[in-house]
Symmetry: C2
Subunit: 302 residues, 2 copies
């Protein structure tokens, strides 16, 4: 399971109760930060998570509403005495922006700060550990932008503790069972795997796509994902503006969700011109049924 907390889901300029884009994704006790608008560190404090558990930050693009909070977060980590390394994945140029500011402030971090600068125009694997893989999703925006696809890895079958009661299993039996094999006991009896095990949790997939114009080129990459976050800066009434600024409308986000047959669509990156967010749901629902709204500080299970 993954747990997604929206830190900010508004576009362009932050306001008192409208934070710009940032999301925190939890996978097996590790936290991945996706984008980091101004004030993200204050939003993070409200969650009361241990900052050292955030070791990977993914920045989609270098527009301010997606990364102006990064330098402040890096500085705060330093001031709090962080020792855990921090890895930042983002467009080429991000390292220069951050290091220039650390240099002029004479405030190098005491922890390791690694940058992986992205320039690719086709999806690439940029992170992998025992639980999750992260791939880029090159998007179509005014400047170089990536979405990110988080996939948890398949797990082994679980031993059903009730079923094995009274059986004299050896360590290799456990191994065979977890890997899906049936076993033969010492007395010669064969037991089917599914009599002694439970199926593992299904791998989960989360696709983050912001900011982007409607673009079908990456549909195959996000086919059937459990949750697609797709920006919907505008409603159809401002379709021309969406086209001009390389953003999407709620209807376009829904069309992509439908085409990619995702399980659920989450909208966000709302323009401040709209007062009623339910209009986004209404518009998207005409195309794709399972739509939800992102909301600052709300947590979703994937």
């Amino acid at each position: 399971m993954m747990k997604l907390t929206i830190l900010g889901c508004h576009s362009a300029t932050p306001k008192e109760n409208k934070h710009t884009t940032s999301q925190l994704l939890e996978v097996k006790g590790k936290f991945f930060l996706i984008d980091c608008g101004e004030g993200t560190q204050i939003q993070l404090r409200k969650l009361k998570i241990k900052f050292s558990l955030i070791q990977h930050i993914f920045i989609s693009h270098l527009h301010g509403d997606h990364f102006y909070g990064l330098i402040g977060l890096i500085s705060t980590f330093r001031l709090l005495g962080r020792t855990a390394p921090l890895n930042i994945y983002g467009p080429k140029g991000i390292k220069e922006i951050i290091t220039l500011q650390l240099k002029l402030a004479k405030s190098w971090t005491d922890y390791e700060l690694h940058f992986k600068e992205l320039e690719g125009t086709i999806p690439e694997l940029i992170f992998e550990d025992e639980n999750v893989k992260v791939n880029t999703l090159p998007l179509d925006h005014r400047i170089y932008t990536n979405g990110f696809l988080f996939k948890t890895k398949p797990k082994k079958r679980k031993i059903n503790k009730v079923s094995i009661l009274g059986l004299d299993l050896k360590p290799f039996h456990y191994n065979q069972l977890q890997n899906g094999f049936s076993i033969q006991l010492e007395n010669g009896n064969n037991i089917e795997n599914k009599e002694l095990t439970l199926p593992p949790e299904m791998p989960k997939q989360y696709a983050y796509c912001s900011d982007t114009a409607y673009n079908e080129t990456f549909v195959s990459e996000i086919k059937g994902v459990d949750l697609l976050y797709h920006e919907s800066t505008f409603l159809e009434q401002h379709k021309e503006l969406a086209k001009k600024t390389k953003h999407s409308t709620a209807k376009e986000a829904a069309s992509l969700a439908k085409k990619a047959k995702v399980k659920q669509l989450m909208l966000g990156h709302y323009s401040n011109r709209y007062n009623n967010k339910n209009d986004f749901i209404k518009e998207a629902s005409t195309i794709f049924e399972n739509v939800i709204l992102s909301e600052d500080l709300k947590t979703f299970s994937i």
Copy 2:
């Protein structure tokens, strides 16, 4: 008169209700922004002032808690369609930090953005208009830092509208009176200036000194100012820490205020380690009587 609004008065890292340094000084309808910590634009929105009236921003130094909100503010001004020019005064390097980010975001401002980069180590005049002069106050911190001294200009005497009733004054008489001269009427009568005029508002002086170690070298510059804002990051119990980090204690701020014979001292840039801000007042009051505390979103008349 000047009107000073504290946007943030806390040091190091911003928290939900503790904003890092920024102040807004109003002089005759013009607004001067002094420092710009992360989230300053959100604080500014709460004041509901017209953003185009802010045309001059003074940055003391390149530590994050004093300028990480600047790039966001510049971007927001652009997104709101600003046309008024913006002038930024700050340490050498500030132009590179800002322009690098605007370049990589392909988001040049549509309004004029001017930088005056500071490197001087003695006070210099950096801004002057019909109402106010601004001088630097080179401070003593870990990196190159300036305080700023705002002085309003002497005004002409005010005509007392009640006293001149029934007198047949010509335009040149008004001019003479405003400039402090007595006048002679057409009938040959002399009238003393003070019978027909009121004294002008006294020039006001506001000195902003943050961040700095205790340092007497600029005492003569701030002699007798109406209000001295002097950082007091620490209390005396952490005097060694103040020394090591080139900050001041409340007692040191008060000692400087006493030495400079200022009219009033305002403390601020509080370390987050202290829960009770009244301890700062208590400590400073043992040395200097007229002490007040800065407080986020509070406005003071000078």
